[in-house]
Symmetry: C2
Subunit: 236 residues, 2 copies
């Protein structure tokens, strides 16, 4: 049963904590991890304000993390997928500062934080790896920040391009992709309105960069997409 897969057999282990550990160490890590039953679309992994009990490694699926503004509006801070770790942002205050919700059926490994700390005191490579993964998290937050400073077109292009690149790294198709998030959610994340997202997708289709069928995207000109995401020029 895939719910009980071990780190050794997990395809995403090479993007996850085990990537820096030897077999013996992976076994030890494996023994503290709790395999959860799949999360279904809409289910919460944790809520803002909950006490930090565990970090969560995503095996498959996609999770959004978000806060609610004083005005009651949802504010999406990140989309996490295979190999990503949730919960680093909770270590400071020992409470999760954001809520986490599955956008699709998702398999998640629960890594009890105390056990992890205990284990990391015995395994130098694990200590180093935790720092590395948190640093990577900071890197990607900074990249996200720079997306919001671009214009709308470039922002969406970057968003799609990064999704595609991540998938390619994971050995998935670099040309085809089913979005798990709505236009509302993409817009919320990028700081744009859902109408703008819709218009931009139309525009991307017209310019032959991609095709859409419902939420399924097929990339037709990934070079152009890459250039659009790196530049602010008028490619459209």
């Amino acid at each position: 049963m895939t719910t009980c897969i071990r780190c050794q057999d997990c395809i995403s282990s090479r993007f996850c904590i085990p990537s820096a550990l030897n077999n013996y160490e992976i076994n030890q890590l494996d023994s503290i991890i709790i395999r959860r039953t799949p999360l279904h679309r809409g289910q919460l992994l944790f809520e803002r304000g909950d006490k930090l009990t565990a970090l969560y490694a995503i095996r498959s699926g996609i999770i959004k993390s978000y806060t609610i503004t004083p005005r009651g509006k949802e504010q999406i801070t990140a989309f996490y997928s295979t190999g990503d770790i949730l919960g680093f942002d909770a270590i400071n205050t020992l409470r999760y500062p954001t809520s986490a919700q599955a956008l699709d059926t998702s398999m998640v490994c629960e890594i009890p934080f105390e056990s992890l700390e205990r284990l990391s005191s015995k395994i130098p490579a694990l200590r180093r790896q935790l720092l590395r993964l948190m640093s990577r998290h900071i890197n990607s937050d900074q990249e996200n920040l720079s997306i919001t400073r671009k214009n709308a077109k470039t922002g969406l292009a970057t968003f799609i391009y990064k999704l595609i690149c991540t998938r390619a790294q994971r050995g998935l198709s670099p040309t085809s992709l089913r979005l798990s998030m709505s236009h509302t959610e993409i817009g919320n994340y990028l700081g744009l309105s859902l109408e703008t997202i819709s218009r931009l997708f139309s525009s991307l289709q017209e310019s032959g960069v991609l095709m859409m069928e419902g939420r399924t995207i097929t990339i037709q000109d990934s070079d152009k997409l890459a250039r659009m995401s790196h530049n602010n020029e008028d490619f459209w």
Copy 2:
């Protein structure tokens, strides 16, 4: 000579790494730290692409970190001040992803990364503290992200309010503040043009929130400033 101040005697130690350590542990930390001569306005602490050799703790002054876009434009990612640690974002790739430049005369403690890792293998509290500080860094990156999604007025109000709050925590005046950064730099950081920053400051003065004399700001109605930074309402 203040250049050689020890952690024990450093006023900012309670916001810095030592805050979680006992005296014996602080001594050990102290022994690996290199006190540098002051950085002067405009001097670089490190440049994007340099190998990670050390983390840097800011004792006083202010440092901006930034990248250069493919278009050759500076992109400011953060302003660091007393108690902040620079370099966490370099642990992932072992190279600094941003450059760091002093905006004012700044005192900085250099913490060689290898020594720090070695020391942290012996001191559990130090391990925990490093995770905590990196987590705090992630928290503040996420707050910054949410600033950019606000409107310009709220964004600048939040920027000033946070500067003031940080100063208050450090025991400095909560009503008076000399900005070390230009309008161009503030605008760059907030994703706004320098003209907009200038207009917003004028507007803040007219509405009696603060007064400006050159780059020196005096807060006149900090409640209003706080409300403006938390809300999107029309307070102006």
